[in-house]
Amino acid sequence: MNEAITLPGGVTAEPGMRIYNQKLGMWIFLASEVMFFTGLIGAYIILRFGTTAWALPGVPLEEGGTPLAINLTAFNTFMLICSSVTMVKAFAAIEHGDQKGLRRYLVATVLLGAAFVGIQVVEYIALAHEGFLPRCSEELAAVVPNCDLFGSTFYTMTGFHGTHVSIGVLCMIWVTVKAFRGKYTKENHGGVEVIGLYWHFVDLVWIMLFTIVYLI
């Protein structure tokens, strides 16, 4: 697969990166995604360190602790990491021409990804119920330092990540349907590799977000 592009007429072009277009295109697109999350995370860092106080984990809520449910999200993080593993397994399966393995692991990836989004929605609803929103309830604003700002950054960053996972799940469903129709072969499975790149990237972003938003 990693051969030079062949132009019509059978002539070989300049070797380029020796990566096929779709994969190269995805890498390039991910570079822009890195910048997008850099913008969001950069804003978070500037806002957080521009103020004096911030909600910290490991502190009771009444003493300025975080309103976030860390354990639930830690479990969610674990699931997303698992979905990366199943994604790797799916790709490994089709590299060996294992159609059954490909389908099984793709379905697992879709389910794990969808579960991640589902748990995130549950988390949002619970938080909103507690009054934690971009405009916090008065009770919460009284104990959580800079609650509005915390809410603004929290929902924007995790929300955009959740949107990315959701889009990923939709694309993954499409790839899975194609896999069930037998469109991928041992030789030709660029689609699986390309969606895999995106999936691992989204996973990686989450590990960073989880660390800086929930853990520190």
Binding site: G9, G16, L24, I28, S32, G39, A43, N188
Partner: protein
């Protein structure tokens, strides 16, 4: 193999399928048609941006007086005019005219590829651009008026509807920018992949024309800068609609955060607007001078250096913003550094003309105009780069003069050069040389009459974006100059008429163009005018660089890139 099949797909389409009118000209995946679509759309936006400029200039030249047939300009409307003129010109005229039109049209043709790497994404990119343009245009007519916070949309002015009086207008502005960003992003992924992976045999990186180099580097800048503005405007949108507090100081937000994000995008954006122009001009000057570009490698390095330095200079827009004064010093140094590669480019263009045999065809005239006026814009930039001098001239007409010398005297001159130069390839007919030259001379004159006096206004301390200069005693003596500028601006607008007429007349009635009317070396001049779907009947092989003009001993004074060396066959 998927790859080969994907690359061959557009060709297969062309050969095996008669395309309907809609598939061929409207929802086309052919990079040439998409380039032409961008050309028509962004020229229309250029006219719209010009109309907005005339309206705001009217108010400055004749404050409070009635513009015949239009009426007076109210202060709120004036702010919308300022905002929308900048927005349309930057995002919907100059950027798509350079990148949307010429990256699309030229990259595959000039590197010997049948189409872009992702033709469908390319089509999607164009239609997202149209959507964003429609949204932005619609925002002119909504209740509360269009956005009035400047094209820089400084928060909190832009983040609270009561501050400008425009609510829906500002939201549509943001929506449009997000759509525009998505369109640009798709384009960039396409251009970068195409240049890396789809060059014809022999088209090594250092045999690429400078226009392709510049468009390639520009695509990389856009790829990395656009997401930043997307993130910023989305936060702004949330502040406006969902009650977040990113930029609202009363609730812990930071107005300077907006400025940092905006200019971290905004300064690279400036280079998105000028680098492709520099590349195009290099091609045209070499062709017009019948000489190789002077110092090809240093020209490439200068493009890369400017692109790199562009990332660490954003703070010079914020010298007076309340940023730490020590940062002011470091941003001055990085900004000043950009003068060096810019100077190299200007001197190399002069070096290219030196001992040439210059043909004054219309594109060459515009290219010479570019060198002359870009020099002014580059030199006036040094005033702003000096943090001390900037204290006085920041936010005055000196800045307005500077940006117009770079973006109009620079970028737009290059765009006109490009339109005249590649028109025969795009449409198979020549534009009228006579009218092209008349257009150039009149534009050059009225351009300078309009924008040069703005330097003097700026030195007098004339603030930007003020509604009525006569309100200030110290500016009253300059009112005749303001009036002069307004009249010149109107004339500058009027003398674009020959271009419009020439363009459309030539489209249908122009002299038929042959394959290579300018006797140029690029691969695009080896295929019919206009080139067929799929571009090349046989993939060309490239034997030399793009600027082999007047090679000693050669028969003609040009040597196309794909002609085999004599004696090799």
């Amino acid at each position: 193999m998927a790859t080969a099949a994907a690359a061959a797909a557009p060709l297969a389409d062309a050969h095996h399928e008669e395309l309907s009118f809609i598939r061929k000209y409207i929802f086309s995946t052919d990079h040439k048609i998409i380039g032409i679509q961008f050309l028509f759309a962004s020229l229309a936006f250029l006219v719209l941006g010009g109309v907005l400029a005339i309206l705001l200039r009217w108010q400055l030249g004749f404050p409070g007086e009635e513009l015949p047939g239009v009426g007076t300009v109210a202060p709120k409307f004036y702010n919308s005019l300022v905002t929308m003129h900048g927005t349309f010109m930057v995002f919907f005229a100059v950027m798509p005219l350079l990148v949307g039109v010429y990256a699309n049209y030229l990259i595959p043709l000039k590197i010997g590829a049948p189409d872009m790497a992702f033709p469908r994404l390319n089509m999607l990119s164009f239609w997202m651009f149209i959507q964003s343009g429609i949204v932005m245009t619609a925002s002119l007519f909504v209740e509360g008026g269009a956005a009035g916070s400047g094209w820089t949309a400084y928060a909190p002015l832009s983040a609270v509807p009561q501050y400008t009086g425009a609510s829906l207008g500002q939201q549509l502005w943001i929506l449009s920018i997000v759509l525009f960003g998505a369109s640009s992003l798709l384009g960039s992924v396409n251009y970068i992949t195409t240049v890396i992976n789809m060059r014809a045999p022999g088209m090594t990186l250092f045999r690429m024309p400078l226009s392709v180099w510049a468009l390639f580097i520009t695509a990389i800048i856009a790829l990395l800068a656009i997401p930043i503005i997307a993130a910023a405007v989305i936060m702004l949108f949330f502040d406006l609609t969902l009650g977040t507090t990113f930029f609202l100081p009363a609730d812990g937000g930071q107005p300077l955060l907006w400025q940092h994000l905006f200019w971290f995008f905004g300064h690279p954006e400036v280079y998105i607007l000028i680098l492709p122009a520099m590349g195009i001009i290099s091609d045209v000057i070499a062709n017009g001078s019948r000489k190789p570009v002077f110092g090809y490698h240093s020209m490439v390095l200068a493009i890369i250096a400017i692109a790199f330095l562009g990332w660490i200079t954003w703070g010079h827009h914020m010298f007076q913003s309340g940023m730490n004064p020590l940062l002011g010093t470091s941003f001055m140094i990085s900004t000043m550094a950009i003068a060096v590669p810019s100077a190299i480019k200007v001197f190399n263009w002069l070096g290219t003309m030196w001992r040439g045999n210059i043909r004054f065809h219309t594109p060459m005239l515009w290219a010479i105009g570019f060198v002359s006026l870009f020099t002014v814009g580059g030199l006036s930039g040094i005033f702003m780069a000096s943090n001390a001098v900037d204290i006085f001239i920041h936010d005055t007409y000196f800045i307005v003069a500077h940006i117009h010398y770079v973006l109009f005297g620079g970028s737009l001159m290059a765009i006109f050069a490009a339109v005249y130069f590649w028109f025969p390839k795009m449409f198979g007919r020549m534009m009228s040389e006579t009218w092209g030259k008349i257009h150039f001379v009149l534009t050059f004159i009225f351009y300078n009459l309009t924008f040069f006096p703005m330097h003097i206004l700026g030195m007098a301390g004339h603030m930007r974006r003020i509604y009525d200069p006569t309100q200030y005693e110290f500016l009253q003596p300059y009112q005749p100059m303001n009036r002069f500028i307004t009249i010149s601006a109107i004339l500058l607008f009027v003398v674009q008429l020959p271009f419009i007429v020439n363009f459309f007349w030539s489209l249908f009635r122009g002299k038929k163009a042959d394959i290579n009317p300018w006797q140029d070396n690029g691969l695009e001049w080896t295929v019919p005018s206009p080139p067929p779907h799929g571009n090349f009947a046989m993939t060309p092989t490239v034997y030399r660089g793009p600027y082999e003009f007047s090679v000693p001993g050669a028969e003609a004074d040009y040597m196309p890139q794909s002609v085999p060396p004599s004696g090799s066959q």
